[in-house]
Subunit: 365 residues, 2 copies
DNA sequence: TTGTACGCGTTATCAT
DNA sequence: ATGATAACGCGTACAA
């Protein structure tokens, strides 16, 4: 009746497995497996009988872990996040990105696993969680986590990541977008400009432009784009570094900036979420936007049009970014299963300056 | 050298496994396993030697799927979501909830898997994804998904779910909060009141109060709370049903309501996100808030204080909700591993009416 | 440290 | 076409 294990039906009331069901029906384990996973391999009558017996025994279907081992696939893909997954949802832009990934995976029956980059204790999700592929999103390349995933040789798509090694990737023209934003301010006649980006490590607050270093590829690129233009225009901006995990979206930043550079007439913010905080602070302080202060955000967050005045910003299509990343990964996974080798794809999505009400010429120009 | 499988070191360049490493070093597979998973079981010198050999061979560590099967645990927990996971991130409240769960799991090295309730093709994440426990969040009890998870006998915590069966759960005093909100309006003297909730299925738009049925437990409870008070006050509200997946947060709702009940002086919205849309529409139409129209939201979304006027709303602590759900699940998982039986816990978190600037007495009262 | 016996299913081959 | 047999997949627990 069985070749390589004890007959559970005689071993008392252990766990219910395929074998338990098989014994009850009087067929081989294989037949029960087929009843669940390959219905076309047996007669409908027998299948019903098997399923009924399974139901009677309280058998829920093949154990996912065992199936994953036997099949070599788990039915879920991972998203490797910058240090804390808790920060991943902080703004609507990130949420939209995940939403788009989920929407692309869902019809394929693939689940989405969120992976922290940080090892805790002796476990490191990037190394220890079973999955069929990984989207590496905006996380510190220094971290061991990214290296771990690479070594596992899983299908990989890099998003918002510098990419030296030839992995497939989805990026955004952050630098060009940032240039356009800075140029817009320069064209309007601004000369006293401040920049706001997020940083992972101290020091936070106002730092010399030279030593400003954003956290994450997007920060670095946007900062680079801004300074490309400002330097060319002979403008030395003030730079404010905000902690990565700040939740208040730029509230308080304006005070620091005005203290460091009185008479600042324009601000380039890393995100619309930050820009919104600045705008609110300005309004609460009686500083008119855009008459006394121009503000440019980034992302074209839905928030940008809910504010009054609406934010001038740089649009990126995060929905497309998520869709592309997910579908590229799905393709790579299918290729691997079929034994094909996947050709690398590196997509860079465009950005676009959207001029709205939060920018204008400086007061005294 | 090996008991039950071919010696891979002689079988060509197959996959690198524990055995491959063991053969290379000349120790047993078990020793290599210990080198990775139980460092205290062998000498430091031997361990280094093993790890070095593994590195040379490009061995990344024990295969997660195999380990999950052997150990009986996967290192990740699932969150079962209402139909589409894509809708899960639509507002900041949901995002904060997930963020809080992630923050609680992360230090334990546990990953978070998002599960769609909808089966696609022949796969059904709730049945087919390996995990150690599940948080069932705000999803339709009718769905097969929830039943599937229950049958798998995984540790379970229900959040924002009606709970007949005695599972552990985390809920919020939605009904009491809604009562407070409605009472606030009644006390201010409003009599022409409209309600906005989300519904899963058509018909959408204005429906008779009697046949209004929200989608999801929270909708049902809030609706019940509102009507408790309004009915007692002899007020028959107008009810507007919004599609569950509407992304525009209540934009357009105001027109429909005013068409159905001209002279409406107050609106109770299911969420702050919806309330925000109504507020913006009002302002764009030149309707003064709160002088001509009072608006009450729900959740105390950070958004509520970014608006002008700030929203009167009903606060719930979603961070605590997430933290509790995650830690209750972790406890249950530990109990199970230890063979203990977990005592059920059913927590109901309080709500609190927060009166801000978006409500006031009706114009002609 | 190591042998042994699984965990629970699937893929591939074989017999009728 | 149906079903059975055998051989893994890759580790881990436990006793020796």
């Amino acid at each position: 009746m069985r070749a390589d294990r004890l007959d559970e039906s005689e071993a008392g009331v252990g766990r219910v497995t395929l074998q338990t069901v098989a014994d009850k029906v009087g067929v081989s384990r294989m037949t029960v497996s087929n009843a669940f996973s390959r219905p076309d391999q047996l007669s409908a009558a027998l299948r019903d009988k098997v399923l009924k017996a399974a139901d009677d025994l309280g058998y829920t279907g093949p154990d996912p872990a065992a199936r994953a081992l036997a099949r070599g696939s788990t039915g879920s893909i991972g998203v490797l996040l910058s240090n804390s997954p808790a920060d991943a949802f902080t703004d609507e832009i990130a949420a939209t990105f995940f939403s788009s990934i989920a929407a692309t995976l869902s019809p394929q029956g693939i689940a989405l696993t969120l992976l922290s980059s940080e090892p805790s204790g002796d476990v490191m999700p990037a190394r220890d969680v079973a999955m069929d592929g990984v989207i590496v999103y905006n996380c510190d390349p220094q971290t061991g986590a990214r290296e771990q995933v690479e070594r596992r040789q899983l299908p990989l798509v890099l998003v918002d990541q510098p990419n030296a090694k030839g992995f497939s990737s989805v990026n955004v023209e952050d630098r060009a977008g940032a240039r356009a934003a800075a140029q817009h301010l320069v064209d309007l006649g601004h000369t006293r400009i401040a920049l706001i980006v997020k940083a992972g490590d101290p020091p936070f607050g106002i730092v010399p432009a030279a030593m400003a270093q954003g956290q994450g590829y997007a920060s670095i690129e946007r900062l680079a784009g801004w300074t490309d233009v400002l330097t060319a225009a002979g403008i030395e901006p003030v730079v404010l570094l905000l902690p990565l995990d700040s939740r208040d979206g730029g509230r308080g930043a304006l005070d620091e900036i005005l203290a460091a550079q009185p008479g600042t007439t324009a601000i380039l913010a890393f995100s619309d979420a930050i820009a919104a905080g600045v705008l609110l602070d300005a309004q609460d302080s009686g500083i008119a936007v855009p008459d006394q202060l121009s503000i440019v955000g980034f992302d074209d967050n839905p928030l940008a049009t809910r504010l009054r005045p609406q934010l001038t910003t740089v649009r990126q299509d995060v929905t497309e970014k998520g869709r592309l990343a997910a579908s590229m990964l799905i393709d790579a996974m299918q290729d691997r299963r079929a034994g094909r080798t996947t050709k690398r794809r590196a997509v860079t999505l465009p950005t676009e300056l959207v001029v709205r009400g939060s920018t204008g010429a400086p007061a005294h120009s």
